[in-house]
């Protein structure tokens, strides 16, 4: 699925539709507007990055889609269902900023957790879990406990867990933020491979702070700005679908990163107070 073709494509199915979403937290002095009137349409098979400074609402937007937060106004539809129904229908997998693994369960038991909750029988859950662990390259570690693994490996387990139901939509909230750069690079590559392996059927929404990461991974970059949280700009990636880490040294990459940086600064400078 290439995005460098400028010709209009027949519109593919929409994985996520957000219309005029607003989230306002009531507070004693000033209500905090986490999101104001945000609209976004994400097609199936896209890799979308949400990037912006703290307080721009990128995590809030992700959580709204995942039904972990409520909208004050507007609507969200995931695969045609409301966010609430989508959650109960296990339409997505969610990866948090920290691995959030249960230390009293082995790696295998952790990956089985969502399957167990939804009543999948033990043998089948085990098989599926082993498959997902193989996909993230952790075969052989099933019997270990989370604290016996490095940070990067723990996060990989968390991704394997999110893949358990083979969800078409994967949501990731700064999953690699706590890791060192070298591990991060490796995991970025693995994530891209995972995405491409499903030949355009898997949609990924990815929140990040890092411009290079957003540019490297995405097919489309959504730049957000704070106070109030809103979309500043949406940038289509000009990079080819097949990428390796070397692409970061090319001119196209640098130019795209520059555009994103400008969009970030522009959004930042234009907010001008309340």
């Amino acid at each position: 699925m290439t995005l460098s073709a400028p010709a209009p494509l027949p519109s593919p199915a929409l994985a996520v539709e957000v219309h005029g979403a607003s989230v306002v937290y009531p507070a004693a002095e000033h209500p905090v507007t986490a999101l104001r009137d945000v609209s976004l349409a994400i097609s199936e098979g896209e890799f979308i990055s949400l990037i912006g400074p703290s307080g721009c609402g990128k995590t809030t937007l992700l959580r709204v889609i995942a039904d972990l937060e409520q909208l004050t106004a507007g609507s969200v539809r995931v695969n045609g269902l409301s966010a609430h129904d989508a959650r109960l229908a296990r339409a997505y997998g969610y990866v948090f900023q920290a691995p959030a693994l249960f230390p009293w369960r082995t790696v295998l038991a952790n990956v089985c957790l969502p399957l167990q909750i939804h009543g999948v029988d033990k043998a089948r859950a085990r098989t599926v879990a082993l498959e997902q662990l193989a996909k993230v390259g952790l075969t052989g570690f099933e019997g270990k406990y989370p604290w016996q693994l490095s940070g990067g490996m723990q996060q990989r387990v968390s991704i394997a867990r999110a893949l358990g139901f083979e969800p078409k939509l994967l949501m990731m909230d700064e999953p690699f933020g706590a890791l060192d750069e070298i591990t991060r690079d490796r995991l970025n590559e693995q994530l891209l491979q995972l995405w491409r392996a499903d030949a355009g059927r898997r949609t990924i929404v990815f929140v990040t702070h890092s411009i290079p990461e957003a540019v490297f991974l995405s097919s489309r970059i959504v730049v957000m700005s704070p106070r109030p949280g809103r979309i500043a700009e949406v940038i289509e990636s000009t990079l080819p679908a097949e990428r390796s880490l070397d692409i970061r040294d090319t001119a196209a990459f640098t130019e795209l990163a520059h555009r994103v940086r400008m969009a970030l600064q522009g959004g930042h400078g234009s907010h001008g107070g309340h």
Binding site: Y25, P26, A27, A28, L68, E69
Partner: protein
């Protein structure tokens, strides 16, 4: 239902105070209602048997009235206990054995003496353990292990032995209290005196500070947050020790003695009054420690 924290605070002052107090008042109200109901229910058989069976045509109101004002009830009503306390405290001179405050004073004098001794001893031992590796390895494990042992079981022996040596009254009880205060204080102080991290210790090392300096300027202040909870536990334990110390030899004065005589003579109201007075004493003693803590700790909070 947002899973994140909602920023902002509740109304300050009166609203917040009510928010804290209302649940407690509700629980207390429920307890009082349940108490009255239980008192009527538990006292009813005796009342019916003794009084009402000879009175034809008695009503529920009669039952309630009588069960809540018995001489020797199975469960006294709250107002009976309150009245008894009031009478005892304000109706008799302070040095009369009929005044509960007299007994409270006897028990608390033993508690406070024991508390002072126990804290001093515990502090001394903690300082010794922190500075001597030998003591730490040989004695400290025993101090910790002794916390799992029911130390109060020794109370009768202490009373009897010291009694046979001619020591009676406050001192044997204080010894028991001392024993009970000693362990929590010692363990907490060792933990507290050793709490400063490597960073702070190395800082003082660069100032060429002596061991005494390090002790007074770093270890002692760092140990205070550990010490005060242990002091509160210690004084509560010391109070229990003093009360228990009054049991074995049939002492005449003190709250434990009152509890015992009340139970011998089946005087329920007296038992309950003594119990309430013990509870109040416990609150006052612990409150005093808390006040000292607030005065000594800068900023009031750890």
């Amino acid at each position: 239902m947002a899973a994140t924290e909602v920023p902002g605070k509740r109304g300050s002052g009166l609203g917040a105070a009510w928010h804290r107090v209302a649940p407690v008042l509700t629980v207390l109200a429920v307890v009082l209602v349940a108490w009255h109901a239980a008192a009527v229910w538990l006292n009813a058989p005796q009342v019916i048997e003794r009084t009402l069976s000879s009175q034809p045509g008695w009503s529920a109101l009669d039952l309630v009235r009588l069960t809540l004002s018995m001489d020797r009830p199975v469960l006294p009503a709250p107002h009976q206990i309150a009245l008894d306390l009031f009478d005892s405290v304000f109706g008799w001179p302070l040095d009369s054995p009929r005044n509960l405050l007299f007994h409270a004073a006897v028990t608390s004098s033993a508690t406070l003496l024991g508390f002072a001794m126990g804290t001093a001893l515990g502090a001394l031992l903690a300082v010794a353990i922190v500075h001597s590796r030998t003591l730490e390895r040989s004695l400290f494990p025993w101090v910790i292990a002794s916390q799992t042992v029911p130390v109060l079981a020794i109370a009768p022996i202490v009373i009897v032995i010291l009694g046979s040596m001619g020591m009676t009254g406050t001192f044997p009880k204080a010894i028991i209290s001392m024993y009970l205060c000693f362990f929590p204080v010692a363990v907490a102080l060792v933990k507290g005196l050793r709490s400063p991290g490597v960073l702070e210790l190395e800082l003082l090392h660069t100032y060429a500070a002596s061991k005494t300096n390090t002790f007074w300027m770093l270890r002692v202040p760092a140990s205070l947050p550990f010490l005060f909870p242990a002091l509160r536990v210690g004084i509560a334990a010391g109070l229990v020790g003093a009360i228990v110390g009054e049991l074995p030899t049939g002492a005449q004065a003190g709250l434990g003695a009152r509890l015992l005589t009340g139970s011998y003579y089946g005087n329920t109201v007296q038992i309950w009054s003594a119990l309430v007075m013990s509870a109040l004493l416990g609150l006052v003693l612990t409150g005093c420690v808390a006040l000292v803590e607030r005065g000594v700790t800068p900023g009031g909070r750890r």
